[in-house]
Symmetry: C2
């Protein structure tokens, strides 16, 4: 270890003022003579002074740190999401703190309870993680924005994916490309019309609802066999599904997958069985991960602009943080999408 880091006091002594004046000068507050400020800045520079965040936030109650909570880092979707959110947080002069919960509700609860969320470790949280409940957030009383929480009447601000419209557009695209027997690959079980018309709190049922409406509107079948259920959102589950579908000669000519990794897995699984995409069956994904632009075949997808989403989410959060008296109302925003047609639906 080096010598102790320089403090306000060190600078103050050199300049010949009090620590208070140095603090004001460094933070650019009014009420400091220009010449004094210049001297302070010079000495701070020379001593390589950095404010001690712990002390600063202990007193001020603000850390400038925004927590970004997600299920995992490796799924390309999440890698892109944390990237976009981190950049946006920094663009606002704040520091992003990433945390992952591994899809576990206990882990999420633990993260909310952890010492790092007490006191003033974080000024706020943006979460896209299983088990982060409204109740928990309200209890904590901390500024929070939920991503894709899809609750009908949220008590917490949310920014949502275009689940219904996006899935609808994806299926319509398959139909436009000539598909007449379309399978929906999802973690959500088959749901009948009544179920689907109800509101749901996770995105998959909402996406399924969108897919269904496109099928019905085009006079195409929607029944239990058309919903292919998988147990997770990564490639392996897509591969398994493809193997099952090929082995049972399912006979679909197009598939909408609830995310791109599933879709890439489906394509890979079909390749194992000699089923060619798009020659034999067509496949479209959801999210618009970059890998879909480089796969063989390239992947058609319902693409969401994560930069725009991040901007809205951080904006909402800052509004909460900066509102002194909690005099804001929760908002629910749904972002737009673009249908990207690539080789997998050609």
């Amino acid at each position: 270890m080096n010598a102790k880091a320089p403090t306000l006091k060190d600078i103050a002594e050199e300049v010949g003022v009090t620590p208070m004046t140095v603090s004001k000068a460094l933070r650019g507050m009014p009420g400091v003579k220009a010449s004094t400020r210049a001297k302070v800045l010079a000495v701070a520079e020379r001593l390589n002074y950095r404010v001690n965040v712990q002390a600063s936030s202990l007193k001020s109650g603000r850390s400038g740190i925004i927590r970004i909570m997600v299920n995992e880092y490796r799924l390309p979707f999440y890698a892109q999401l944390i990237d976009a959110l981190s950049d946006e947080v920094r663009r606002n002069g704040l520091t992003p703190f990433l945390q992952k919960t591994g899809y576990s509700a206990e882990s999420a609860a633990e993260a909310m309870r952890s010492p790092y969320f007490s006191g003033s470790m974080f000024d706020g949280t943006i979460a896209h993680a299983s088990g982060v409940t409204e109740a928990g957030i309200l209890k904590s009383g901390n500024p929070t924005v939920l991503l894709d929480d899809c609750a009908a009447n949220p008590a917490v601000s949310t920014v949502n994916w275009p689940n219904e419209m996006g899935a609808r557009a994806g299926v319509q695209h398959l139909i436009d490309r000539g598909c007449r027997n379309i399978g929906i690959v999802t973690v959500c079980p088959y749901m009948d019309v009544e179920d689907l018309l109800r509101d749901h709190v996770s995105n998959d049922p909402v996406r399924l609802r969108g897919a269904r409406s496109a099928l019905i509107d085009n006079g195409l079948p929607y029944d239990p066999e058309h919903v292919i259920r998988v147990t997770g959102l990564n490639e392996p589950q897509g591969i398994d599904a493809a193997h099952r579908l090929a082995d049972t000669h399912a006979g679909f000519d197009g598939y909408l997958c609830m995310n791109d990794s599933l879709a890439l897995g489906l394509i890979r699984g079909f390749a194992d069985r000699g089923v060619r995409v798009p020659d034999d069956v067509r496949v479209i994904g959801f999210d618009g991960i970059v890998a879909g632009a480089y796969s063989v075949p390239t992947l058609s997808t319902v693409s969401v602009d994560l930069d725009q989403l991040a901007q809205i989410a951080v904006g909402q959060l800052l509004r909460q943080i900066n509102d002194p008296d909690g005099d804001w109302r929760p908002t629910a925003t749904t972002v737009g999408f673009a249908l990207i047609a690539r080789e997998s639906t050609r």
Copy 2:
């Protein structure tokens, strides 16, 4: 916002002891009667008490936070790396803090200088980022472990990828599969034997050296035309390279790419030109990202066990942190690899 978070004092008043006793009880320190501790824990639980990390570390000089610094989050290689490192840090009871520098040396320098690295915000840093220099680290005086810094005689502990041996094995694998005219796809410009025999401070030249030795040992050509230079490590650069190679009828029958994303890009670029992998040319990558197991074709690669790497890196860092008097010596570890043969070199 809710009512103010409970403090040690609140608990102390309820239990009828001093904050000091509460502090000891909560931290499990000796010298507290079992019955007192029980009472304290009960009240802490009921009040939903969480220690204030800022205050705690302001006083103790330890934050329990380990910084993980990388160039980016989205490249699958980095997504897997931060995942493994985060898990390992948590396994040791510490909190990971992720930071990205975007390959920019200024950004890295800024990150090292930032307020969050002064005082006691981080207990230590593990870095795999361009521009994190030994000099900067030594100047900061903070415990640090560098990943893949490949300096010959490091003043800072490093954990390195098996660059030379891995690249050598990759090329040997291509040779074993019948390749006789092998191209090396790398960001490093062609370097003659003398250049390559010198020590270098980034991994690409070292990998190139390993590739070269395999070629030479097998009596195969190694000259400027065999080194295909790209300007980055992502898929697009691989695609560009493939287009160039196909358009100029380069005539190679096998390629070693310096990472898997380049290799996947190469395969995609060849697909654009009707060049089939592995039928027409064979391709092997480096790192062992999971996407390589799900691509079409699946990707052969020199795979590195990131969990093992993370374990070593965190272990080294903890040794530095826990050594009170800096009485440790920097170490340089090289982790092992496994050659995974998949469809792309069949």
